[in-house]
Symmetry: C2
Subunit: 233 residues, 2 copies
């Protein structure tokens, strides 16, 4: 019998293991082969769940954005050998805003069953807590870094948001939070509702939605924590 490919969510804030459901803890003992963005983080995470008698019995290989697709057949070999495998992202859910989709696409091409497990996604949690439109939304990854291009992209996304009544979602690396926030309140229409969702599930968690004009009159200073930005025109 062929192995299955399990998609294993991980915590999105340090020491917040309470967000990982029993479903994940029950599936893990049947999985000994893992693909991880960062093997050290993955090992530490699995160890923290205390579901394995010994970590020595587990096998880890790296799957990240540098992994060429030619490396996939040997990486995925355990599936063909009848062994279950797990994909672990650096943070949150594999296959969403991370390189896990490579392994999943390979599994589908070769007829292996894929089983997604439940866990935290900062994108989804931010959308839930935004109060913006959850019937239509789009995730765009990162904004361009260059200032003029970022402004252009924001204006383009705002036009589309208005046209389709679509919530626009993107993420940023923590040290750029203030720069992106400044771009947003400068470029968006005063009535557009803008959400900043900071450090979701963590100690500093704060999720705030305000019209751009209100943000402008009282702009915030954001700490270097993971953030999701959302708006609806």
């Amino acid at each position: 019998m062929a192995g299955k490919l399990f998609l294993i969510p991980t915590i999105i804030s340090d020491h917040q293991q309470g967000v990982i459901p029993q479903q994940v803890r029950e599936a893990l003992p049947g999985i000994k082969h893992f693909l991880a963005e960062d093997v050290r983080t993955a090992r530490r995470y699995l160890s923290s769940l205390k579901v394995y008698p010994s970590m020595e019995e587990l096998n880890f290989e790296t799957l990240n954005k540098e992994t060429p697709s030619a490396s996939l057949p040997p990486l995925m070999k355990p599936l063909a050998d009848g062994l279950n495998m797990g994909v672990i992202s650096e943070s949150g859910c594999p296959g969403v805003a991370d390189p896990g989709a490579l392994a999943v696409a390979y599994a589908h091409e070769h007829g292996f069953q894929v089983v997604p497990l439940v866990g935290p996604s900062s994108i989804l949690l931010a959308l839930m807590a935004s109060g913006l439109n959850g019937q239509q939304f789009a995730f765009h990854g990162y904004l361009p870094i260059e200032s003029k291009e970022a402004s252009k992209k924001i204006q383009e996304l705002e036009r589309e948001s208005k046209l389709k009544n679509q919530t626009q979602i993107f993420i940023e690396t923590p040290y750029r939070n203030n720069s992106v926030f400044t771009h947003l309140i400068k470029n968006l229409h005063p009535n557009t509702r803008l959400t900043v969702a900071l450090d979701i599930t963590g100690q500093q968690e704060v999720i705030t939605t305000k019209p751009v004009m209100v943000w402008r009159s009282n702009p915030a200073e954001w700490p270097k924590a993971p953030a999701v930005f959302l708006f609806l025109a």
Copy 2:
């Protein structure tokens, strides 16, 4: 002190309580006032988690797509009285493809803290397990019911998918699964990858991604179970 608005995910398949993390079970005892799409389902769900000594102490009000925004101030009154409130969707995560966003928007407007809790979302789980692009994706709700309009919409979404390298996601009511699937394989380009994610977390769970030409040569018959459809051109 003001109350907080908690967003409480619920199971997406019968008897699968293992997908609800400890985080939710720990937050619930501090919440006695609930807004639910369907009060009976919500009551049964909370009872199944066995976190309350008695269900008699809980208060439920209905919040659904028929709720006029004028009803919100009385519905949300417990927050102003310093009591926590919970929003419960009929299935999955409140605020995503359901009317919960109304209550969340109200909370932000009036300065109440919003706390999203972790749980299952069929949309997110389907995306993870699709192997399609998880760096850029859009959720569109339901397709038009009328055949010609549905075809037009599918073609439009496919053009956009190709242009933006964007995974397109939508849902359907179970009894229309076969009709939507037929529309999709008829209208999409042969090389477009199409995913059907059926009964996620349930007994019949099956998630399959294939190029449209492969689906055409071996079309499936889908049971009446909840499904998510995704494609990438």
